[in-house]
Amino acid sequence: MSTKLQDNQRIVITGLGLTAPNGNSLSEFRESLLNGRSGVVPYEIRYFGPTLAGVCNFDELRHQKKKDIRRGTRAASIGIYCTHEAIADARLDWPNVEKSRVGIYVGVTEHGNVETENEIFLIKGYDYDTQFWSHHHNPRTVANNPAGEISLNLGITGPHYTLGAACAAGNAGIIQGVQMLRLGDCDLALSGGVSESIHTFGIFASFNSQGALAKHEDPQKASRPFDLDRNGIVVAEGGCMFVLERLEDARSRGAKIYGEIAGYAMNSDATDFVLPDPIRQAECMRLALDRAGMTPDHVDIVSTHATGTTSGDIQECKALRMVWGEGSRTAFNNAKSYIGHAMGAAGALELAGNLPAFDDGICHPTINLDRLDPECALPNLIANEPRQLGPVKVILNNSFGMLGINSAVIVKKFEG
């Protein structure tokens, strides 16, 4: 159990920055989550045409020059915005932070599709003559791009890389930061996930061909996990970066502590490209609980991964029942119902949206739940209206992805 760990092995969250389709700071995002404010809007992308998406509207020029934006990628701009905001939120004495001891760990579902599609579109105008293919293509599409641009922008000389972990990537970024702090590889971990996926038509077209792209006449009702009328995923962009520190370091500088990483786990289904396996998902959650020295009953809120696909939601609910049974006090919620699926950012954003519950005791609901699918009828599924739970001390955050990648992160309220 983490409280038995030495302070140099206990990892705490001391800052966060985010951009979501319904908020560009934790306070805005949380307010949206407590007031049912969706961020899903009509959207159009080349070749695919009109669809729906979760679109972010943060100020790119707050931390980047126009040239940086032109040269770089949207994923990196999102990452840079979130990281700057996280560092400011953590009240770090940034000019005097030893930059070689800062690590950047950014989860991504995919990277390079947007930039490659753009180049192919562009050279089509030159009869596919590759001499018009941009020299910026490689630095834009290398898999470390979003983390690397954060390093360049902030002058961070410690390790930087992305973690390609499908839609478990937000959690994977956090877990990597925890591990690297414990190993002593860095003194400050900037960890989380980003998504620029709404800018690739391929994501929409592929989900559509799979029968997994959400459609609804009212964009704000399109993302509806657990509802009988759900018909797929709303793709979203977004990002969330956390500042993680060892407890001893956070204490010594008197940092505000959002919560302590109490446990985590990642595993694999090894069964199917797209269909999740609830047995392995349940194993993943149990492993995270074991590592945290907790039983399921310790958990106050489970932030579910559910994306609004017919089968995926049912599979996760099966896994949750395997762990919590039918009569648990644990509350279950979901943030994708507001913003869609922010892919590589989803895990990090969804965790962030729940952290204020440590202070206000409120569990934000999953919205758009008009006709509950009986197969998704979890006990204490918080539907449509926020619920005051009383003291909230433990949050478990699920994030799963294609190729059977599962992750769970447990954060507990910091109590000294």
Partner: protein, 87 residues
């Protein structure tokens, strides 16, 4: 294209490549890189944009001719005239 038109075309390219820079006081006989925040990738953008917009092919060994506005215009003038004739 006249020398003045070529200068205008190059300025237009520069304003896209270096959108944060004030180009109004650009000295013609001083290198771009001394006056603007430009690196080798930006320089390659000039080459690429000339290729895209005017179908001008510049061999790598002739890149030094694009160092300043003056040298660029001098280098491009006969080539841009040729382009104009073709069109």
């Amino acid at each position: 294209m006249t020398a003045a038109e070529i200068k205008e075309a190059v300025l237009e390219i520069l304003s896209d490549i270096a959108p944060d820079e004030d180009l109004s006081n650009l000295k013609e006989d001083v290198s771009f890189r001394e006056q603007l925040e430009m690196d080798s990738m930006d320089f390659l953008d000039i080459v690429m944009e000339l290729r895209k917009r005017y179908r001008i092919q510049i061999p790598e060994e002739e890149y030094p001719a694009l160092a300043s506005m003056k040298s660029t215009v001098e280098y491009l003038e006969p080539r841009m005239t040729e382009v104009a004739k073709k069109q």
